[in-house]
């Protein structure tokens, strides 16, 4: 990802500027800049929304994208949104990645937060003081996460920037030909009037002298020509021939390599290092004690790693030496017993209904810690010279990376340049930039350019994990079997994000959803879809329990309860219908269904699962229905849905980071299992274009798959999966003569 050439910070602040003979249109919403007109939900000065488009004299249009590319393809979609409003020739449109400067702060995140569309993810919190949340502070975010790229940068930035640029082109042409702007047509980057025409490039210099419009009109969906068509992603060609540059691929003149070993016990410190143990090993330059970690620097990576493995180092375990997974879950159970928690949702009087009920259905669920396991292990290359710092890495939040690097050695962030690279997977992990300060400190210590590469073992054992949490449900069914009270009492370990994750869309009159805040010692971070991962498993498993308790079809049960949520209902119906819900299946197979709304999108999934006599679980296929509002690039939405399913299914079947003695027990892909092609189900994606507010696609595919599979396994085994991963269970097919309360949507037996 190149930095953006000659455009300096100063010129970026100009709006509608002439740069290199072409036009740069910048959008922002602070008072002295372009205003976005009456549809803005924000008051003047509240928010800067920065989106930039360059039109060069050779008729190329370049969108400048403030997000990182980690495989979601949203940058192609963002450029499509710009091109659509500009009526640009898609073949002449490209994008560049924005540098890590505050002008590119992803204020969409902040805006979404204020509008209540999306919570600012927990990983943003180190950057934002929420005790007096002001949007100005949220401006320090430049995040790719929370599935915000299309929903916010695209809808509020790219489309408007495109419309503004188009308007300026039209007015420039009108002035040149002395005609009324309303008589001018624009198509494929060409502006025309009768027999006269000019390209965007030819008009760019004249257009740059005009004021950008205050309130450019946006197209109606029915006018879209490019949005909604499947387009090849522009980032793909370099990914098939080895030329794509990831952080780990950086090479600088005079560069040396660092391998690192961190205290295995969280919170531990280096007690002693016997440097003599690696005396004479080839290529070793220095051993660096970072306090909680030790790094060996050598002229080659393999030499650094070999020496590190041989190095005699002892750690003090510190306060967490006795922490185990069991001790953490036990602390949750103890706390739930004594702590009513704080109200997240209180509607009606669930407590009273439950107290008066003759029969109360109760259940408890739990999920484990999970690692992200990005395919590219954490790495960062750093140069520290004359008080200036340069870093090369793949960061989901380059602006925060700049701050982390600056703080590591106490320099001003203005002295740090982030050269952001392609990310070999992000999933939330690369918003936490612990490896960046390490690289910067090592580089300062050795006075040479240093590439720090974590081993897979370090990556697995020193993640910011999806939290292990648990909950307790109570519900009461009415005479018709439908729930009249829903109580969810859940543990929240500071990752209760986004705020809507524990909510249910089902029309249940009395709801009590209460969170019990707790501390625990394992480092936590956002993990693809954040709180939805656990809450979807909890809620969609328990609603399934209620359906079976009522003797009703779990699909029809959900459908009835979604009477007041037509978008959800449509997605649920689409998934069920496309999956052939209720039609016969081969013996030994069953379907399970689940639905979840997250990041503004709704996804329902039907999993077709079998369970062998020997207890082998196989997920044969998954039918996915998704409503992202408008799918800008449908083929990319499809691949994100498939991606989300595989990520969620890996976790549901296998994912289990366990703690013993305060340290993670898993190390690498041999003991932290991954799904391979052989276990990957066939996935069919059905896009429901409701045209409603645009939501994200990167995360919403992940939450429903776990409960969908678990619900199918209940039908097959008679056993309710209450704790993930599924591999912990010794499941066997139930005796089909002995009737399960009901087995709907399944094979005729």
């Amino acid at each position: 990802m190149a930095s953006i050439g000659k455009i300096t910070r100063r010129t970026l602040l100009a709006t509608g500027a002439l740069v290199g003979g072409g036009l740069v249109v910048g959008l922002s919403m602070s008072p002295n800049r372009l205003k976005l007109g009456s549809d803005s939900v924000l008051k003047e000065g509240e928010l800067q929304l920065n989106t930039w488009v360059k039109i060069s004299p050779d008729n190329k249009v370049t969108a400048i994208i403030p997000h990182s590319e980690m495989g979601q393809g949203s940058n192609t979609a963002l450029a499509m949104m710009l091109a659509e409003e500009m009526d640009a020739d898609w073949d002449l449109v490209d994008f560049e990645y924005a540098p890590a400067l505050p002008e590119y702060a992803n204020t969409g995140l902040g805006k979404g937060y204020l509008m209540g569309d999306v919570g600012i993810p927990a990983f943003a919190r180190p950057l934002v003081d929420f005790t007096f949340l002001q949007i100005a502070q949220a401006m320090d975010l430049q995040i790719t996460g929370g599935s915000t790229a299309i929903a916010f940068t695209g809808e509020h930035g790219m489309r408007r920037a495109g419309a503004s640029a188009r308007d300026m082109m039209v007015r420039a042409a009108a002035a040149r030909w002395n005609v009324d702007p309303s008589e001018i047509a624009v198509a494929n980057s060409v502006v025309s009037h009768g027999s006269r025409s000019a390209t965007f490039g030819e008009l760019s210099t004249e257009a740059a002298k005009l004021d950008p419009p205050q309130s450019p009109p946006l197209k109606d969906r029915s006018q879209f020509k490019l949005i909604g068509t499947s387009q090849p992603r522009r980032d793909i060609p370099p990914k098939v021939d080895g030329t794509a540059m990831f952080g780990i691929d950086i090479e600088l003149p005079g560069m040396v390599y660092a391998a690192i070993k961190q205290s295995p016990v969280f919170g531990g410190t280096v007690a002693s290092i016997e440097e003599g143990s690696i005396a004479g090993m080839p290529g070793v330059i220095r051993v660096v004690n970072l306090g909680d970690a030790v790094a060996v620097v050598a002229d080659k990576y393999w030499r650094a790693k070999t020496a590190l493995d041989a190095l005699d180092v002892a750690f003090d375990a510190g306060a967490n030496a006795n922490v185990t997974t069991a001790s953490i879950f036990a602390s949750y159970t103890d706390e739930l017993a004594v702590n009513e928690g704080s109200a997240h949702v209180e509607e009606g009087d669930a407590k009273a209904v439950i107290a008066d009920a003759a029969e109360v259905i109760t259940s408890e669920y739990q999920v484990p810690f999970l690692a992200h396991s990005c395919m590219e292990p954490m790495n960062c290359t750093a140069v520290v010279k004359n008080g200036k710092v340069d870093i090369w890495t793949g960061a989901q939040n380059p602006l925060a990376a700049r701050t982390f690097a600056a703080n590591a050695i106490g320099v001003d962030p203005d002295n740090v340049t982030v050269h952001n690279q392609l990310l070999g997977g992000g999933f939330g992990r690369r918003s936490r930039d612990d490896f960046i300060p390490q690289a910067v400190r090592i580089a300062q210590d050795v006075g040479m350019p240093v590439k720090l590469v974590w081993s897979r073992e370090e990556d697995t054992q020193h993640d910011f994990y999806r939290p292990a949490v648990s909950n307790q449900f109570k519900a009461v069914l009415g005479d018709d079997g439908m729930p009249i009270a829903w109580s969810n009492h859940y543990i929240n370990v500071g990752q209760d994000e986004p705020a809507d994750a524990p909510n249910i869309q089902y029309g249940i009159e009395n709801q009590s959803i209460r969170s019990v805040g707790m501390e625990q010692p394992i480092p936590l971070g956002p993990w693809r879809s954040v709180g939805h991962t656990q809450h979807s498993f909890f809620n969609e498993s328990f609603i399934d329990e209620l359906a079976h308790a009522a003797g009703k079809d779990p699909y029809e049960y959900r459908r009835t309860l979604l009477a007041g949520a037509p978008r959800h209902r449509k997605v649920l119906e689409t998934a069920a219908e496309k999956a052939g819900w209720g039609t016969p299946l081969p013996p030994g197979r069953a379907r399970g269904i689940a639905i979840e709304q997250s990041f503004g999108s709704i996804v329902a999934q039907v999993a077709e699962v079998s369970l062998s006599e020997g207890g082998d679980v196989k997920v044969h296929n998954v039918t996915i229905a998704v409503d992202v509002g408008t799918a800008v690039n449908p083929q990319a939405v499809e691949s994100q849905m498939q991606s989300g399913v595989i990520y969620g299914l890996t976790a549901a079947l296998y994912g289990n980071i366990t703690i013993d003695g305060g340290r993670v027990e898993q190390t690498n892909f041999d003991d932290y299992e991954m799904i391979h092609l052989a276990e990957a189900p066939e996935m069919r994606v059905h896009i429901v274009n409701s045209g409603d507010t645009t939501g994200g696609a990167g995360e919403p595919g992940t939450p429903p798959i776990g409960p969908a599979v678990a619900n199918a396994l209940f039908v097959l085994s008679g056993e309710r999966i209450k704790s993930l991963p599924i591999k912990q269970y010794d499941l066997r097919p139930r005796n089909t003569n002995q009737q399960l309360s009901q087995a709907f949507g399944q094979a005729a037996e």
């Binding site: 980690m70 495989g71 979601q72 393809g73 090849p232 992603r233 793909i236 370099p238 990914k239 098939v240 021939d241 080895g242 030329t243 794509a244 540059m245 990831f246 780990i248 691929d249 090479e251 390599y257 080839p282 080659k300 990576y301 393999w302 030499r303 070999t306 396991s373 990005c374 395919m375 590219e376 292990p377 392609l422 990310l423 070999g424 997977g425 992000g426 999933f427 590469v453 081993s455 897979r456 083929q635 990319a636 691949s639 498939q642 991606s643 989300g644 399913v645 595989i646 990520y647 890996t650 690498n668 892909f669 041999d670 991954m674 391979h676 092609l677 052989a678 990957a680 066939e682 996935m683």
Partner: protein, 150 residues
């Protein structure tokens, strides 16, 4: 120690410890960064190259064992300015997401199809055991079938 390797048709002499994995020799000595490190224990396939046409995981392969082979990395898969059919299909079907695993995935698939131009699903399951954390498996399978003879 000096070792002579034939990589993408060129001969390279490298001076490294004999147990240095071929992966790090390719990346850090020869400068071919397309071959990736994912696990270091032969469990993910990110480091797959061809040795005399067969797919090999290089993160556990000592350089001393790589002498004498025709080694092809992702950078050498295209020939005469023409992408390999697997690479072309990967673009057509938009297979890569983050892309990090795809060098190894493409090399594994190219080796499979060279050996078995019409693999069954079972053949694919048995042979393509690369890990892709982005979950591109559906398109990988579809593309292998697309490339098959039948």
């Amino acid at each position: 120690m000096a070792f002579t390797l034939k990589v993408n048709g060129e001969t390279h002499t490298v001076d490294v410890e004999p147990d240095t994995p071929l992966l790090w020799v390719l990346r850090d000595e020869i400068g071919l960064k397309g071959t990736k490190y994912g696990c270091g224990i032969a469990a993910c396939g990110a480091c797959t190259v061809h040795m005399d046409g067969a797919a090999e995981r290089t993160c556990v392969l000592p350089v001393e064992a790589a002498e004498g082979y025709e080694i092809t990395t992702i950078e050498g898969l295209a020939s005469g300015g023409q992408l390999h059919p697997v690479q072309e299909e990967w673009i057509r079907n938009q297979v890569p997401q983050c892309g990090y695993c795809q060098s190894g995935m493409i090399m594994a698939v190219a080796a499979l199809l060279a050996e078995n131009p019409n693999p069954t699903d079972q053949d694919i399951n048995d042979t393509i055991t690369n890990v892709c954390r982005c979950g591109t498996y559906q398109r990988v399978r579809d593309s292998i079938h697309e490339l098959s003879d039948a």
